[in-house]
């Protein structure tokens, strides 16, 4: 763990998820995505959760920019339906992926919520070819009566403002 985290606001941290629980949650999510367990992934989210993959770094308002993904609950649902439908050539099957998430830094602890940033390194394989991808990922994870939920996930690829190849799975 890094010790150079930004200052935490601990005053209202009482009900916030612990760092350790949040990390376990992130790892479980990463595992789900590598296993294409998208049906289990959908209920990980809060109702107003946003899943964002931007095309620029250091953006504050994603809604006024073009993103690779900017999903609310409805779009996530539609995306998962599409990926699992068997009719999308790029995801039936998708590239195989193996990802790790680490270098966690807690950036904010609020009432009932913790925000982390982390590094994701992923390798995908399809058609005789391996590609490496890297991203800075921000997670906002909240405590609910239903357990921990993902409220925000922003996956900023290291080369987000350059070209990608088609991505037939979830980041």
């Amino acid at each position: 763990m890094s010790t150079i985290a930004e200052p935490l606001n601990r005053s209202e941290a009482a009900a916030a998820p612990s760092l350790q629980d949040a990390i376990q949650f992130v790892w479980a999510e990463a595992d789900m995505l590598d296993r294409l367990d998208y049906k289990a992934w959908l209920p990980l989210w809060t109702e107003n959760g946003r899943y964002i993959v931007p095309t620029e770094r250091d953006v504050s308002d994603y809604d006024d920019r073009l993103n690779i993904v900017n999903d609310d609950a409805e779009m996530r649902q539609a995306r998962v339906k599409r990926l699992l439908s068997g009719f999308s050539m790029s995801s039936a099957p998708p590239a195989r992926t193996v990802r790790t998430v680490s270098r966690f830094v807690p950036v904010a602890v609020e009432d009932g919520a913790i925000t982390l940033r982390a590094a994701m390194i992923m390798v995908e394989y399809k058609y005789e070819r391996m590609r490496t991808m890297a991203a800075d990922v921000v997670y906002r994870i909240v405590s609910t009566a239903d357990g921990l939920k993902l409220d925000r996930k922003i996956v900023t690829l290291v080369n987000c403002d350059d070209y990608q190849h088609g991505i037939g799975y979830l980041l």
Binding site: V53, T55, E56, D63, D64, R65, L66, N67, I68, V69, N70, M75, A78, R79, K81, R82, S85, F87, S88, M89, S90, S91, Y127, R129, D161, D162, Y163, Q164, H165, G166, I167, G168, L171
Partner: protein, 417 residues
């Protein structure tokens, strides 16, 4: 070069090495991309004096600049001293480009302004001989093209009947004018002509984009049943063509009385609540939905329903594509936001459409490793509906491969010139 290019292209088919042969690719870069008008930018990418955008003409990196007088320049992004690139930013503002290596500085029109320690050349360096190489640059309705050739026809003549379709496409400005809002970039391991073909390929749409169609409300899904509306493909000359998929959406300033589609109801309400008069709401909403056609401009750009598609050949089997999102310049935020969300829905590396297109094109390239003596068939098509195409233009039904045949005939013309 020993290949007889004419033998690779027949009226209704092209030979497989068109996708796979490196030597052919090298010749294309010269005989096509260095010999015709190539799209480099939209006017809104360089909105004011001393703004720039980096771009490409074929494989050569360029800087598109607008000087203080408003004139647009396309400059090779290569220092005249010992070749360093002088600009590595996507876009921005600059009144001077300073080479990072030895500090030669250039005005935005390419003129060499200053050479550090110029006395080291004795009397021997006339700065007038060392401007950044400036390409001939012309613009039509916001579309900026550049060419290495000083002796080819003016851009407006090159575009010819395509101009009418550019004008129709730009009605997506909804009365505000068109502005670029951002871009998706992606590559696929395949030849550039596979993408060129695809822009006038309605045939693949219901198959490849089934999951996109399934994600729409029933009304929108019906609109995107592109084979079902009596559309057509029309050869516009010089390799250009238009594929009309939704005839009702050719002219976005017509049919403003039609009921507002369900998916735009919320936006219409929001605009009305902001005090926008009903007629303008209808105009903006209709513009937000985009045009019902793809205009394919040979060799590298398309006005594709609601965005610009720009292709860049990288290698014989690698192509980069930009999907440029567009919106209304100074138009309502809510409308532009919706444009962005609609663009994200289909386009880009994780859109509901693009990854499947990219996969399909990759499969073409993979398949083309077999059977170098086999033909790629572009013979599909029956007559266009009566009276839809301009008199004298070759046209076929919406799923006809007429546009591909037009592009390949232009390819043949240029490669054998």
């Amino acid at each position: 070069m020993s290949t007889d290019f004419a033998t690779l292209v027949r009226d209704d088919r092209v030979l497989t090495p068109m996708y796979t042969d490196e030597a052919i690719f090298e010749e294309e870069m010269d005989r096509i991309f260095k010999s015709t008008w190539v799209w480099v930018a939209h006017a809104s990418d360089v909105p004011a004096g001393n703004t720039f955008k980096t771009s490409w003409v074929g494989r050569e990196p360029v800087i598109v600049t607008r000087d203080k007088q408003g004139k647009i320049h396309t400059l090779l992004n290569r220092c005249r001293h010992r070749a360093a690139s002088v600009c590595e930013k996507r876009k921005g503002k600059a009144s001077v480009f300073v080479c990072p290596y030895h500090g030669w500085s250039y005005d935005v029109d390419g003129t060499l302004r200053k050479v550090p320690h110029i006395n080291g050349y004795g009397e021997g360096l006339d700065t007038a001989d060392y401007s950044l190489v400036s390409l001939r640059t012309e613009e039509y309705n916001g579309m900026i093209f550049a060419t290495f050739k000083d002796d080819i026809q003016p851009l407006v003549d090159f575009l010819g009947p395509a101009k009418k379709w550019i004008d129709l496409f730009m009605k997506q400005g909804g009365g505000y004018g068109v502005k670029t809002l951002g871009e998706h970039r992606f590559r696929f391991p395949g030849n550039w002509k596979i993408q060129l073909e695809n822009t006038t390929d309605a045939y693949h749409f219901p198959i490849v984009h089934k999951t996109f169609l399934d994600s729409l409300d029933p009304e929108a899904e019906n609109v995107f049943q592109v084979l079902a509306h009596g559309g057509w493909v029309e050869d516009l000359g010089n390799g250009h063509s238009v594929m009309v998929m939704i005839p009702d959406l050719i002219d976005l300033e017509e049919n403003l009385d039609a009921p507002i589609p369900q998916r735009f109801e919320e936006l219409a309400k929001e605009l009305a609540a902001e005090g926008m008069p009903d007629e303008q709401v209808r105009r903006v909403v209709r513009a937000v939905g985009g045009s019902g056609f793809n205009l394919n401009l040979f060799p590298n750009v398309a006005c594709s329903m609601a965005f610009f598609r720009v292709l860049r050949p990288i290698e014989v089997n690698e192509t980069e594509i930009m999907h440029v999102a567009i919106g209304m310049d100074g138009g309502p935020d809510a409308a532009n936001r919706m444009r962005l969300r609609l663009h994200e829905h289909f386009q880009g590396p994780m859109g509901f459409g693009t990854p499947d297109d990219a996969e399909g094109w990759e499969r073409v390239q993979r398949g083309a490793r077999a059977g170098q003596d086999l033909w790629i068939m572009v013979n599909r098509g029956v007559d266009a509906p009566e009276g839809v195409a301009a008199p004298g233009h070759n046209a076929g039904d919406v799923s006809a491969e007429t546009g591909m045949r037009a592009a390949y005939q232009m390819w043949k013309r240029m490669m054998t010139a």
